[in-house]
Symmetry: C2
Subunit: 205 residues, 2 copies
Protein backbone atom coordinates (compact mmCIF):
# COMPACT_ATOMS: atom_id res chain seq x y z
CA UNK A 1 0.00 0.00 0.00
CA UNK A 2 2.75 2.49 -0.94
CA UNK A 3 1.37 5.89 -1.77
CA UNK A 4 3.00 8.68 -3.72
CA UNK A 5 1.79 12.19 -4.43
CA UNK A 6 2.54 11.94 -8.16
CA UNK A 7 -0.61 12.57 -10.16
CA UNK A 8 -1.61 9.29 -11.74
CA UNK A 9 -5.23 8.99 -10.66
CA UNK A 10 -6.17 6.08 -12.89
CA UNK A 11 -3.47 3.75 -11.56
CA UNK A 12 -2.91 4.68 -7.95
CA UNK A 13 -6.15 3.30 -6.53
CA UNK A 14 -8.65 5.23 -4.42
CA UNK A 15 -8.15 8.99 -3.94
CA UNK A 16 -7.07 10.44 -0.60
CA UNK A 17 -10.60 11.70 -0.15
CA UNK A 18 -12.01 8.22 -0.65
CA UNK A 19 -9.56 6.64 1.77
CA UNK A 20 -10.36 9.25 4.41
CA UNK A 21 -14.06 8.54 4.02
CA UNK A 22 -13.40 4.83 4.20
CA UNK A 23 -11.45 5.23 7.44
CA UNK A 24 -14.10 7.50 8.96
CA UNK A 25 -16.85 5.08 8.06
CA UNK A 26 -15.00 2.12 9.53
CA UNK A 27 -14.04 4.14 12.60
CA UNK A 28 -17.65 5.22 13.17
CA UNK A 29 -18.65 1.58 13.22
CA UNK A 30 -15.67 0.61 15.37
CA UNK A 31 -16.15 3.36 17.97
CA UNK A 32 -19.89 2.73 17.87
CA UNK A 33 -19.15 -0.80 18.95
CA UNK A 34 -16.17 -0.49 21.29
CA UNK A 35 -16.44 3.13 22.44
CA UNK A 36 -14.09 6.02 21.78
CA UNK A 37 -12.41 6.79 25.10
CA UNK A 38 -10.89 3.41 25.81
CA UNK A 39 -9.76 2.42 22.34
CA UNK A 40 -6.60 3.42 20.47
CA UNK A 41 -5.65 4.01 16.83
CA UNK A 42 -3.82 0.65 16.99
CA UNK A 43 -7.05 -1.11 18.00
CA UNK A 44 -8.88 0.65 15.22
CA UNK A 45 -6.17 -0.18 12.64
CA UNK A 46 -6.20 -3.83 13.63
CA UNK A 47 -9.97 -4.02 13.45
CA UNK A 48 -10.30 -2.42 10.04
CA UNK A 49 -7.27 -4.10 8.49
CA UNK A 50 -5.14 -1.03 7.81
CA UNK A 51 -1.70 -0.42 9.26
CA UNK A 52 -1.49 2.20 11.98
CA UNK A 53 1.06 4.12 9.89
CA UNK A 54 -1.34 4.18 6.97
CA UNK A 55 -4.12 5.68 9.13
CA UNK A 56 -1.67 8.28 10.42
CA UNK A 57 -1.04 9.34 6.81
CA UNK A 58 -4.61 10.59 6.72
CA UNK A 59 -5.28 11.63 10.30
CA UNK A 60 -2.90 13.21 12.81
CA UNK A 61 -4.53 11.60 15.83
CA UNK A 62 -7.49 9.65 17.14
CA UNK A 63 -9.11 12.98 17.94
CA UNK A 64 -8.83 14.04 14.30
CA UNK A 65 -10.91 11.00 13.33
CA UNK A 66 -13.31 11.64 16.21
CA UNK A 67 -13.66 15.22 15.04
CA UNK A 68 -14.86 14.13 11.60
CA UNK A 69 -17.32 11.64 13.07
CA UNK A 70 -18.60 14.27 15.48
CA UNK A 71 -18.82 16.89 12.80
CA UNK A 72 -20.78 14.56 10.49
CA UNK A 73 -23.29 13.81 13.19
CA UNK A 74 -23.65 17.45 14.18
CA UNK A 75 -24.26 18.40 10.54
CA UNK A 76 -27.21 16.02 10.51
CA UNK A 77 -28.60 17.60 13.68
CA UNK A 78 -28.05 21.11 12.31
CA UNK A 79 -29.99 20.17 9.21
CA UNK A 80 -32.81 18.75 11.32
CA UNK A 81 -32.96 21.99 13.34
CA UNK A 82 -32.92 24.17 10.25
CA UNK A 83 -35.69 22.13 8.67
CA UNK A 84 -37.82 22.20 11.82
CA UNK A 85 -37.46 25.97 12.03
CA UNK A 86 -38.07 26.56 8.32
CA UNK A 87 -41.40 24.76 8.41
CA UNK A 88 -42.84 26.63 11.41
CA UNK A 89 -45.67 29.15 10.91
CA UNK A 90 -44.57 31.62 13.65
CA UNK A 91 -41.52 32.56 15.67
CA UNK A 92 -43.05 30.95 18.77
CA UNK A 93 -43.53 27.74 16.90
CA UNK A 94 -40.00 27.97 15.50
CA UNK A 95 -38.67 28.11 19.01
CA UNK A 96 -40.76 25.20 20.22
CA UNK A 97 -39.78 23.02 17.27
CA UNK A 98 -36.13 23.91 17.55
CA UNK A 99 -35.98 22.91 21.21
CA UNK A 100 -37.95 19.72 20.54
CA UNK A 101 -35.63 18.75 17.68
CA UNK A 102 -32.53 19.38 19.78
CA UNK A 103 -33.76 17.12 22.56
CA UNK A 104 -34.84 14.40 20.15
CA UNK A 105 -31.52 14.39 18.29
CA UNK A 106 -29.53 14.23 21.53
CA UNK A 107 -31.72 11.52 23.05
CA UNK A 108 -31.53 9.46 19.89
CA UNK A 109 -27.74 9.60 19.89
CA UNK A 110 -27.72 8.58 23.53
CA UNK A 111 -30.20 5.72 23.30
CA UNK A 112 -29.40 4.36 19.86
CA UNK A 113 -25.68 4.95 19.59
CA UNK A 114 -24.68 4.83 23.23
CA UNK A 115 -21.03 4.16 22.41
CA UNK A 116 -20.80 7.08 20.03
CA UNK A 117 -22.17 9.32 22.78
CA UNK A 118 -18.67 8.93 24.21
CA UNK A 119 -17.31 11.04 21.37
CA UNK A 120 -20.02 13.61 21.92
CA UNK A 121 -19.20 14.03 25.62
CA UNK A 122 -15.47 14.19 24.89
CA UNK A 123 -15.97 16.80 22.17
CA UNK A 124 -18.09 18.90 24.53
CA UNK A 125 -15.74 18.45 27.49
CA UNK A 126 -12.68 19.38 25.45
CA UNK A 127 -14.48 22.03 23.37
CA UNK A 128 -13.52 20.56 19.99
CA UNK A 129 -14.01 22.86 16.99
CA UNK A 130 -17.03 20.80 15.85
CA UNK A 131 -18.71 21.20 19.25
CA UNK A 132 -17.97 24.93 19.35
CA UNK A 133 -19.22 25.38 15.80
CA UNK A 134 -22.44 23.60 16.66
CA UNK A 135 -22.96 25.78 19.72
CA UNK A 136 -22.45 28.89 17.60
CA UNK A 137 -24.94 27.64 15.05
CA UNK A 138 -27.58 26.99 17.71
CA UNK A 139 -27.00 30.48 19.13
CA UNK A 140 -27.37 32.07 15.70
CA UNK A 141 -30.64 30.22 15.11
CA UNK A 142 -31.95 31.54 18.45
CA UNK A 143 -30.94 35.11 17.51
CA UNK A 144 -32.72 34.75 14.19
CA UNK A 145 -35.91 33.42 15.78
CA UNK A 146 -35.99 36.23 18.35
CA UNK A 147 -35.31 38.81 15.64
CA UNK A 148 -38.13 37.39 13.49
CA UNK A 149 -40.54 37.41 16.42
CA UNK A 150 -39.66 40.99 17.23
CA UNK A 151 -40.22 42.09 13.66
CA UNK A 152 -43.66 40.56 13.48
CA UNK A 153 -44.58 41.97 16.89
CA UNK A 154 -44.85 38.47 18.37
CA UNK A 155 -42.09 39.11 20.94
CA UNK A 156 -41.24 42.03 23.25
CA UNK A 157 -38.49 44.43 22.15
CA UNK A 158 -37.46 46.13 25.40
CA UNK A 159 -34.72 43.67 26.43
CA UNK A 160 -31.47 43.91 24.41
CA UNK A 161 -31.47 41.20 21.73
CA UNK A 162 -28.15 39.77 22.95
CA UNK A 163 -29.41 39.42 26.48
CA UNK A 164 -32.65 37.74 25.41
CA UNK A 165 -30.95 35.31 23.04
CA UNK A 166 -28.11 34.57 25.51
CA UNK A 167 -30.55 33.71 28.30
CA UNK A 168 -32.62 31.48 26.01
CA UNK A 169 -29.45 29.65 25.04
CA UNK A 170 -28.66 29.13 28.73
CA UNK A 171 -32.10 27.59 29.29
CA UNK A 172 -31.54 25.21 26.37
CA UNK A 173 -27.88 24.44 27.07
CA UNK A 174 -28.52 21.52 29.49
CA UNK A 175 -30.32 19.80 26.62
CA UNK A 176 -27.74 20.68 23.96
CA UNK A 177 -24.47 19.89 25.70
CA UNK A 178 -24.11 16.08 25.84
CA UNK A 179 -22.28 16.23 29.19
CA UNK A 180 -25.39 17.77 30.70
CA UNK A 181 -28.02 16.04 28.58
CA UNK A 182 -26.98 12.60 29.84
CA UNK A 183 -28.23 13.60 33.31
CA UNK A 184 -31.37 15.22 31.90
CA UNK A 185 -32.73 12.48 29.65
CA UNK A 186 -35.50 11.37 31.93
CA UNK A 187 -38.51 13.52 31.02
CA UNK A 188 -36.33 15.57 28.61
CA UNK A 189 -39.12 15.91 26.05
CA UNK A 190 -41.57 17.12 28.69
CA UNK A 191 -38.96 19.48 30.11
CA UNK A 192 -38.32 20.98 26.67
CA UNK A 193 -42.06 21.64 26.26
CA UNK A 194 -42.36 23.27 29.69
CA UNK A 195 -39.23 25.33 29.19
CA UNK A 196 -40.37 26.45 25.74
CA UNK A 197 -43.57 27.74 27.33
CA UNK A 198 -41.61 29.57 30.02
CA UNK A 199 -39.33 31.13 27.40
CA UNK A 200 -42.34 32.20 25.33
CA UNK A 201 -43.97 33.76 28.41
CA UNK A 202 -40.73 35.71 28.91
CA UNK A 203 -40.99 36.96 25.32
CA UNK A 204 -44.56 38.26 25.59
CA UNK A 205 -44.70 41.88 24.35
Amino acid sequence: MTKTRTPAPQTRGPSDHEVRNQIVEAATEFFGHYGYEKTTVSDLAKAIGFSKAYIYKFFDSKQAIGEVICSNRLSTIRLAIDEAVAGAPSASEQLRRMFKTLVEAGSQLFFQDRKLYDIATTSAGEAWPSARGYEEHVKSVIVQIVRDGRETGEFERKTPLDETAGAIYLVMRPYINPLLLQHNLEHAAEAAAQLSSLILRSLTP
Copy 2:
Protein backbone atom coordinates in the same frame (compact mmCIF):
# COMPACT_ATOMS: atom_id res chain seq x y z
CA MET B 1 -14.51 -1.21 73.18
CA THR B 2 -17.27 -3.68 74.06
CA LYS B 3 -20.71 -2.12 74.02
CA THR B 4 -23.91 -3.41 75.52
CA ARG B 5 -27.43 -2.05 75.33
CA THR B 6 -27.92 -2.24 79.12
CA PRO B 7 -28.79 1.20 80.49
CA ALA B 8 -25.85 2.38 82.54
CA PRO B 9 -25.17 5.79 81.04
CA GLN B 10 -22.79 7.03 83.73
CA THR B 11 -20.32 4.19 83.31
CA ARG B 12 -20.52 3.12 79.68
CA GLY B 13 -18.75 6.13 78.17
CA PRO B 14 -20.07 8.38 75.42
CA SER B 15 -23.70 8.00 74.36
CA ASP B 16 -24.63 6.40 71.02
CA HIS B 17 -25.53 9.84 69.77
CA GLU B 18 -22.10 11.18 70.67
CA VAL B 19 -20.29 8.27 69.04
CA ARG B 20 -22.33 8.70 65.88
CA ASN B 21 -21.42 12.38 65.75
CA GLN B 22 -17.80 11.53 66.39
CA ILE B 23 -17.77 9.05 63.49
CA VAL B 24 -19.53 11.48 61.17
CA GLU B 25 -17.10 14.24 62.04
CA ALA B 26 -14.08 12.03 61.47
CA ALA B 27 -15.61 10.63 58.28
CA THR B 28 -16.29 14.13 56.93
CA GLU B 29 -12.63 14.93 57.39
CA PHE B 30 -11.53 11.59 55.98
CA PHE B 31 -13.74 11.71 52.87
CA GLY B 32 -12.86 15.39 52.45
CA HIS B 33 -9.25 14.31 52.18
CA TYR B 34 -9.39 10.98 50.35
CA GLY B 35 -12.72 11.20 48.52
CA TYR B 36 -15.85 9.14 49.01
CA GLU B 37 -16.16 6.93 45.95
CA LYS B 38 -12.83 5.17 46.13
CA THR B 39 -12.54 4.62 49.88
CA THR B 40 -14.09 1.90 52.03
CA VAL B 41 -15.39 1.64 55.57
CA SER B 42 -12.20 -0.34 56.34
CA ASP B 43 -10.05 2.57 55.15
CA LEU B 44 -12.11 4.93 57.23
CA ALA B 45 -11.95 2.69 60.32
CA LYS B 46 -8.19 2.39 60.03
CA ALA B 47 -7.75 6.13 59.63
CA ILE B 48 -9.89 7.12 62.60
CA GLY B 49 -8.76 4.35 64.92
CA PHE B 50 -12.06 2.51 65.35
CA SER B 51 -12.67 -1.08 64.41
CA LYS B 52 -14.77 -1.66 61.31
CA ALA B 53 -17.21 -3.72 63.40
CA TYR B 54 -17.63 -0.83 65.83
CA ILE B 55 -18.48 1.58 62.99
CA TYR B 56 -21.01 -0.94 61.65
CA LYS B 57 -22.73 -0.88 65.04
CA PHE B 58 -23.70 2.70 64.32
CA PHE B 59 -24.04 2.80 60.54
CA ASP B 60 -25.32 0.07 58.23
CA SER B 61 -23.09 1.08 55.33
CA LYS B 62 -20.72 3.65 53.94
CA GLN B 63 -23.72 5.25 52.29
CA ALA B 64 -25.42 5.66 55.67
CA ILE B 65 -22.43 7.74 56.82
CA GLY B 66 -22.38 9.62 53.51
CA GLU B 67 -26.08 10.34 53.92
CA VAL B 68 -25.52 12.08 57.26
CA ILE B 69 -22.62 14.13 55.86
CA CYS B 70 -24.70 15.06 52.85
CA SER B 71 -27.70 15.87 54.92
CA ASN B 72 -25.66 18.12 57.25
CA ARG B 73 -24.28 20.06 54.34
CA LEU B 74 -27.66 20.40 52.67
CA SER B 75 -29.17 21.71 55.92
CA THR B 76 -26.62 24.51 55.86
CA ILE B 77 -27.51 25.37 52.26
CA ARG B 78 -31.24 25.23 53.04
CA LEU B 79 -30.69 27.66 55.90
CA ALA B 80 -28.73 29.99 53.61
CA ILE B 81 -31.55 29.92 51.05
CA ASP B 82 -34.24 30.53 53.65
CA GLU B 83 -32.28 33.45 55.07
CA ALA B 84 -31.66 34.96 51.63
CA VAL B 85 -35.36 34.74 50.80
CA ALA B 86 -36.53 36.03 54.19
CA GLY B 87 -34.50 39.22 53.87
CA ALA B 88 -35.70 40.16 50.37
CA PRO B 89 -38.06 43.16 49.90
CA SER B 90 -40.09 41.66 47.00
CA ALA B 91 -40.90 38.32 45.39
CA SER B 92 -38.67 39.20 42.42
CA GLU B 93 -35.79 39.91 44.71
CA GLN B 94 -36.52 36.69 46.64
CA LEU B 95 -36.18 34.74 43.44
CA ARG B 96 -32.93 36.46 42.44
CA ARG B 97 -31.38 35.94 45.87
CA MET B 98 -32.48 32.34 46.07
CA PHE B 99 -30.87 31.49 42.74
CA LYS B 100 -27.70 33.39 43.62
CA THR B 101 -27.42 31.60 46.96
CA LEU B 102 -27.92 28.20 45.36
CA VAL B 103 -25.12 28.80 42.88
CA GLU B 104 -22.80 30.19 45.52
CA ALA B 105 -23.35 27.27 47.87
CA GLY B 106 -22.78 24.73 45.13
CA SER B 107 -19.69 26.47 43.76
CA GLN B 108 -18.23 26.77 47.24
CA LEU B 109 -18.65 23.06 47.87
CA PHE B 110 -17.01 22.32 44.52
CA PHE B 111 -14.07 24.68 44.86
CA GLN B 112 -13.39 24.47 48.58
CA ASP B 113 -14.29 20.88 49.37
CA ARG B 114 -13.60 19.23 46.06
CA LYS B 115 -13.38 15.76 47.59
CA LEU B 116 -16.68 16.09 49.40
CA TYR B 117 -18.28 17.05 46.09
CA ASP B 118 -17.93 13.33 45.37
CA ILE B 119 -20.60 12.59 47.96
CA ALA B 120 -22.84 15.27 46.49
CA THR B 121 -22.67 13.82 42.97
CA THR B 122 -23.23 10.29 44.28
CA SER B 123 -26.22 11.40 46.35
CA ALA B 124 -27.72 13.14 43.32
CA GLY B 125 -26.95 10.27 40.94
CA GLU B 126 -28.45 7.68 43.27
CA ALA B 127 -31.28 9.94 44.50
CA TRP B 128 -30.48 9.54 48.19
CA PRO B 129 -33.22 10.66 50.59
CA SER B 130 -31.16 13.74 51.55
CA ALA B 131 -30.85 14.81 47.91
CA ARG B 132 -34.54 14.22 47.24
CA GLY B 133 -35.51 16.11 50.40
CA TYR B 134 -33.36 19.04 49.34
CA GLU B 135 -34.93 19.09 45.89
CA GLU B 136 -38.40 19.11 47.46
CA HIS B 137 -37.41 21.96 49.73
CA VAL B 138 -36.13 24.04 46.82
CA LYS B 139 -39.35 23.36 44.91
CA SER B 140 -41.48 24.40 47.87
CA VAL B 141 -39.51 27.65 48.22
CA ILE B 142 -40.14 28.39 44.53
CA VAL B 143 -43.88 27.73 44.94
CA GLN B 144 -43.96 30.07 47.95
CA ILE B 145 -42.14 32.86 46.09
CA VAL B 146 -44.46 32.58 43.07
CA ARG B 147 -47.50 32.53 45.34
CA ASP B 148 -46.27 35.63 47.20
CA GLY B 149 -45.61 37.46 43.95
CA ARG B 150 -49.06 36.60 42.64
CA GLU B 151 -50.71 37.83 45.81
CA THR B 152 -48.98 41.20 45.68
CA GLY B 153 -49.69 41.52 41.95
CA GLU B 154 -46.00 41.39 41.12
CA PHE B 155 -46.38 38.23 38.99
CA GLU B 156 -48.92 37.08 36.38
CA ARG B 157 -51.67 34.69 37.46
CA LYS B 158 -52.83 33.17 34.17
CA THR B 159 -50.47 30.18 34.11
CA PRO B 160 -51.28 27.37 36.56
CA LEU B 161 -49.10 27.74 39.66
CA ASP B 162 -47.73 24.20 39.32
CA GLU B 163 -46.69 24.77 35.74
CA THR B 164 -44.97 28.07 36.53
CA ALA B 165 -43.12 26.73 39.56
CA GLY B 166 -42.18 23.48 37.80
CA ALA B 167 -40.68 25.31 34.83
CA ILE B 168 -38.71 27.67 37.10
CA TYR B 169 -37.32 24.65 38.91
CA LEU B 170 -36.25 23.17 35.57
CA VAL B 171 -34.37 26.39 34.74
CA MET B 172 -32.59 26.28 38.09
CA ARG B 173 -31.98 22.53 38.17
CA PRO B 174 -28.65 22.57 36.27
CA TYR B 175 -27.31 24.81 39.05
CA ILE B 176 -28.83 22.79 41.89
CA ASN B 177 -28.00 19.23 40.91
CA PRO B 178 -24.27 18.68 41.55
CA LEU B 179 -23.97 16.28 38.59
CA LEU B 180 -24.99 19.12 36.31
CA LEU B 181 -23.45 22.01 38.22
CA GLN B 182 -19.95 20.61 37.81
CA HIS B 183 -20.25 21.25 34.05
CA ASN B 184 -21.83 24.67 34.58
CA LEU B 185 -19.44 26.27 37.04
CA GLU B 186 -17.75 28.53 34.54
CA HIS B 187 -19.79 31.74 34.51
CA ALA B 188 -22.38 30.14 36.85
CA ALA B 189 -22.94 33.38 38.78
CA GLU B 190 -23.48 35.34 35.58
CA ALA B 191 -25.77 32.62 34.23
CA ALA B 192 -27.87 32.69 37.38
CA ALA B 193 -28.31 36.46 37.03
CA GLN B 194 -29.31 36.21 33.36
CA LEU B 195 -31.65 33.31 34.00
CA SER B 196 -33.26 35.10 36.94
CA SER B 197 -34.01 38.02 34.61
CA LEU B 198 -35.48 35.69 32.02
CA ILE B 199 -37.64 33.99 34.67
CA LEU B 200 -38.82 37.37 35.95
CA ARG B 201 -39.72 38.47 32.42
CA SER B 202 -41.78 35.28 32.12
CA LEU B 203 -43.60 36.25 35.33
CA THR B 204 -44.58 39.76 34.21
CA PRO B 205 -48.33 40.27 34.72
